[in-house]
């Protein structure tokens, strides 16, 4: 089944429909008026010709002697006019070249009906009117009797035909004249219908693009106006809920920032005093010493958590700034691992000396996090590989453990996401990978998680090499 191509778009469809209706209407009206005019013209012409013939016959008939001789028939024919045939029994008086057109059936009809008969024929491409009539004799007493004389007249209708053709042509041209105004009107109509539709579309686009303040002016009271009102209401409720959501999100973030800020002061005290406690722990009895050690460990954990929370808050608030300097990436990675005593456990390979403009502290945070995770959750050997291409520097951290399950993989960068629900008390804050990713993004790079060839987990930090060197030059030129 094939579908016929249809005009696309409301404008085209409206245009076609409107023009069709207008032109067809105009054509039909012109055609029917032309038809009735033609009929009237033909009828009146026919009547006029017939009356002329009968009138002339009646003028001559009283003078005829009966039975007529040939001369009488000739007189009668001459009176009726050219192209006339007069018969009486076997006698024929013929005048004019076209009398041969008189048909046998016409003569039969005149004879059988004994009355005036007309017939229209077309001969030689021209229309003709054939008139046949018996001549009736009226006796001096008023009695009428058939004379046996028959008069046949052949009349040319070409003139009438020309006139009716003119009528038809004017009907066609009337219809044709209706076309341009029809197109114009259709355009106007489609514009007035389509403008609100286009406005609706534009507003919907603005809404979709995030301009939640977009509204339509409401005018009139038609179906499109109802639609406009509905769209406005939809936009209103969308804006309201989005605003509420944003406010809630902002509040939540500010709350996290405030909480971590507020926690820092008591933590400062705790951090200070647990050290005093630690130096005194040796002299305590076992229970007290264990308690002191727990307090110390947990205080440090709390400090890390609060620091991570504040770091995340800075990313959320958009206040995290890069302090860029030229850094030997391999050297920085090695420093990071050495400072944490991991050089023994981690196999570090690097292609060459790679100098990149980046924030040394943030690189340290990312590498320490990825390497620390590999050591904690994976199995040795843990490998860190630094490589560079023209566009980017890659730092790849792989371990040889079971790797990340497929259902965990999409969530590893989520905040506070723990792969193993039972093992909730890891040394990490649960924000480490989220912070690593934010730090990478701040550099225009990213961190991805996947599976290593051997089956372990693999994290790849990518940092672009072509960053604008004018960024964050603070602290360089004194």
């Amino acid at each position: 089944m094939t579908r016929r191509p249809r005009p696309r778009g409301l404008r085209a469809r409206l245009l076609v429909a409107f023009v069709l209706v207008t032109v067809l209407g105009a054509a039909a009206a012109a055609w029917s008026s032309a038809g009735s005019a033609r009929t009237a013209l033909v009828t009146s012409t026919q009547q006029r010709l017939t009356e002329a013939v009968t009138g002339r016959i009646e003028a001559v008939v009283p003078e005829l002697r009966y039975p007529p001789d040939r001369a009488a028939l000739d007189r009668l024919r001459a009176a009726v006019g050219s192209n006339t045939l007069v018969t009486y029994e076997d006698m024929r008086s013929v005048g004019g070249a076209d009398t041969g057109l008189v048909t046998r059936e016409l003569r039969a009809a005149v004879r059988s009906r004994n009355a005036l008969v007309t017939q229209r024929i077309t001969a030689g491409g021209r229309p003709w009117l054939l008139i046949g009539t018996p001549v009736t004799i009226t006796a001096p007493d008023g009695a009428r009797s058939p004379s046996g004389i028959e008069v046949y007249a052949v009349r040319d209708l070409a003139g009438v035909e020309r006139q009716t053709d003119g009528l038809t042509r004017s009907a066609v041209s009337t219809a044709a004249l209706a076309l341009p105004p029809a197109v114009l009107l259709a355009l106007l109509a489609s514009r007035s219908v389509l403008r609100p539709v286009r406005d609706l579309r534009d507003t919907a686009r603005r809404l979709a693009a995030g301009d939640l303040g977009a509204r339509l002016p409401v005018q009139g009271a038609d179906e499109l106006t109802e639609l406009t009102v509905t769209v406005n209401e939809m936009a209103e409720s969308l804006q309201t809920s989005m605003t509420a959501m944003r406010r809630m999100q902002t509040d939540a973030r500010r709350f996290a920032a405030d909480v971590s800020h507020e926690l820092r002061t008591p933590l400062s005290t705790l951090t200070a005093v647990v050290e005093v406690l630690a130096t005194a722990a040796d002299g305590m009895e076992a229970d007290a010493r264990e308690s002191a050690e727990l307090a110390i460990t947990e205080t440090h954990r709390l400090v890390r958590l609060v620091e991570d929370l504040m770091e995340v808050s800075r990313f959320d608030a958009g206040t995290a700034r890069l302090r860029l300097e030229d850094v030997d990436v391999t050297g920085a990675v090695r420093d990071c691992l050495r400072a944490r005593g991991w050089l023994e456990e981690i196999e570090l390979t690097a292609a060459e000396e790679i100098v990149l403009r980046l924030d040394r502290r943030r690189l340290d945070v990312v590498v320490a996090n990825l390497a620390g995770n590999a050591l904690r959750h994976g199995e040795p050997p843990v490998r860190v590989h630094v490589s560079a291409s023209r566009e980017q520097v890659r730092i790849e951290v792989t371990d040889s453990g079971p790797g990340l399950p497929a259902d965990v993989l999409p969530h590893v960068f989520d905040r506070f996401y723990k792969a193993d629900a039972v093992r909730t008390r890891t040394p990490g804050s649960g924000l480490g990978l989220a912070i690593a990713l934010e730090n990478a993004r701040l550099h225009g790079g990213d961190v991805t998680a996947g599976r290593a060839e051997g089956g372990g987990a693999r994290f790849v930090l990518r940092l672009p090499r072509d960053r604008d060197p004018e960024d964050g030059r603070a602290g360089w030129d004194v």
Binding site: S268, L270, A272, M310
Partner: protein, 224 residues
Amino acid sequence: MAAILLIEDDPLVRRGLQLALSRHGHDVRTADTGEDGLREFRSAPPGLVVLDLMLPGIDGFEVCRRIRAEGEVPVIMLTARGDDFDVVGGLAAGADDYVVKPAQPTVLDARIRAVLRRSTGTSDGVRVHRDLRVDSTSLTVSLRGEPVMLTPTELRLLLTLSRAPGRVFSRQQLLEEVWELDYLGDSRLVDNCVQRLRVKIEDGSGAPVYVQTVRGFGYRFGPV
């Protein structure tokens, strides 16, 4: 070990740090506002000031500026991690070093000792570089015969650079040698200290003679 003035507004943090630093052998006096701190400072100048930047009344930056205006006593400021505004402002106000809160007393003690070590002499003797005379034994510096008062950090920076005129030191090397910081030391410490040192020993023409910038690498002394 050192007479320390701790200016911190939160009473519990103040007390906690006092306890911990005392445990490390320091003699710690405390003040809870900037005004009080400056009063304490003037009544008996300490060997070093530990200064919280967030203070009621006159803030830590202003306190640091006034201490700097009155002498060469080293200042270590306490700042919130990553609050670059604090770090930049504090260093510009003349602080020698900073420690991020919550400060571990061990870390703070290490910074204090590193700053104080800068005031200890070496036996390199006296070197004269054009108008500048650097005595590394008595730890005095004079410019055209006039004594120049330098903080221990500025002095150590000048000694380190002038010991090897013409040699380029990277910021990293200076952080390790002068501040005794590891690979994550803040290079702004170096830049700020160089700036303060230049104010004291250069002619202010904008073209430094003694401490010169080597763009993209670091600093070097001279050539004079």
